[in-house]
Symmetry: C2
Subunit: 336 residues, 2 copies
């Protein structure tokens, strides 16, 4: 099943069911008016939404209309929980290596995760509005899941069943603000402004064989200013799967229905030390910071600048038939 | 005006208007069913709630009933944003001093703030359920405000007008998990489990002279296992006022209506280096960690243990007439 949220002037938007090929959609106010409302009562609501989805795909839903990704909010325009892991330890290792630091051994066994802000996500086709482009504006292409209620203490072996939806993320980051914030010891805040999510969230069954062991086994495609930038396999080099990330998040708290758990920046080693760019025949990267790290390690200093006003990023994923699964995140950095 | 949220089996509870003396309440489903719904449309809704409040206080509301604090959820049982500052730099200085570290000069000009989790707050009279009491369970008595929509880049001189409600917090902390998490560099996550808020949230005008310069000028009362533990003046030694904290939070993001901004642990220097306990004639402390820090600085090691299963904390605030303003947070740590 594929779901999206249509902009309708309200804070939580209007839940719609989207056809598998992303061409058609149906409003479902009689079932659930918002995605959060559906998630709040998922066991009851999901089968009803699935019935609409099946009818829509069969081409005979009487009230279907053309699906416009540009009219979408993030599937949850605001959420009660957004916790972003950093499961691709290659990404972490790269960032550290560039400044000459080793990563602690524990990073391979204990997930990194930060508590994100979730009160005001931006839409998948909305501009990234910021007061300054001198803060080291970067994108981070990631995969994320949405859970139902996860009781405190849920172990990884049981956490996978709580994954109800999968989507993509642009976890916008302000690299210039990160060192100062992390030095203060309280983690990210100003350096992690509003994130954007793919127009469409899909149930894991929709991903068929590509969803295995609580990982999404497809390349995550990033384009930067209309040029291919990254196509790493999201299923590779993911040190912690989504079940492990959920268990980590739920160690000392319940997670409420609609909790979003992110993978962190998708990053592949490609059998080399830290991977390589698409120009060099590699799978590239999912953020500018990694390219800069490679440049720093190789050349002593970075040459690729961070995003300036006018720069744009596209993030999406295709199945083996080249079919777009989640719709596309397409955003331009602009002055607020 | 005083507002609260009654437990009703739903995730967001039922908004009620509470009389000034906390004795009576009224359901207001025809105005707003939840506090979040009221905050989403505050400009329109607040005057209607105020009219009910006035009628309730005059003693002639036809549908009033006895207000039971024990039936309350936290005013927002779940929220879209919970950002907790650390505005009483004395608290920070103490924690650092105990381990022989100075605080950076910037801590006096740039607020510390962490992004909290907000999907599953506990009620003001609910137990603090945790799988273990070996994680250094501590309370932190704080003041918090709830804002309406705060546009990105709002400056401190304009941020005060966005404060719509004030309440108290128990920001439960797991001290034993903090060093490991902070060493990883991503801030708090597992070490900050669900927080609890006072039964009642009040509009700033309700605090009359006690609300000035975006600070709450009254002692914050903590009792630990039925003995007075802290009574520091929340208006003193608050290096950053709530307007400054809001401006800090909104530097690179919009804050959505219903955002909760916390003060951090209230802590007074009392003209001494780091304050003193109530037993010693001082105003005491708002968390166990500070007492342990004082003990460490004085005796070389802490003697007061953190909370064990069965230990209880009470947090509240009274006006100069001894009238309870926010109701009382009363919680016992128990095994999950």
């Amino acid at each position: 099943m594929k779901l999206a949220t249509l902009r309708n002037g309200s804070r939580d938007g209007q839940l719609i069911v989207v056809s598998r090929d992303l061409s058609q959609a149906v409003l479902v106010p009689e079932i659930a008016s918002t995605l959060q409302a559906a998630l709040d009562n998922w066991q009851l609501i999901a089968p009803q939404l699935t019935a609409v989805y099946d009818q829509l795909n069969s081409g005979n839903h009487p009230h279907s209309f053309t699906f416009e990704q540009a009219q979408c909010e993030s599937p949850l325009p605001r959420a009660f929980q957004w916790a972003d892991g950093s499961a691709y330890v290659n990404h972490v290792e790269l960032v550290r290596k560039a400044r000459g630091a080793e990563i602690p051994e524990s990073f391979w066994t204990d997930p990194l995760m930060y508590q994100g802000g979730s009160d005001d996500f931006i839409g998948p086709r909305e501009d990234i509005l910021l007061p300054s482009d001198e803060w080291g504006v970067d994108f981070e292409a990631e995969v994320a899941v949405i859970t139902d209620d996860v009781p405190m203490g849920t172990r990884a072996e049981h956490a996978g069943s709580h994954i109800k939806l999968v989507m993509l993320v642009n976890d916008v980051s302000l690299r210039g603000l990160i060192p100062g914030e992390l030095a203060k010891g309280f983690g990210f805040f100003q350096s992690k402004p509003a994130s954007a999510f793919s127009p469409v969230a899909v149930t894991p069954d929709e991903l068929s064989d590509h969803w295995q062991q609580n990982k999404l086994h497809l390349p995550l495609l990033s384009e930067y200013n209309d040029k291919p930038f990254g196509k790493p396999q999201a299923g590779e080099d993911m040190t912690f799967d989504f079940a492990q990330l959920i268990a980590h998040a739920a160690k000392s708290r319940n997670l409420g229905a609609g909790a979003i758990i992110g993978s962190g920046t998708v990053s592949n080693k490609q059998g080399t030390e830290h991977g390589s760019a698409i120009d060099e025949g590699g799978v590239g990267y999912s953020c500018i910071a990694e390219v800069r790290m490679i440049e720093t390690i190789r050349d002593g200093q970075p040459t690729t600048p961070f995003m300036s006003f006018g720069d744009k990023v596209k993030i999406h994923m295709q199945d083996h038939q080249g079919q777009c699964i989640f719709g596309t995140i397409e955003q331009t950095v602009k002055q607020a």
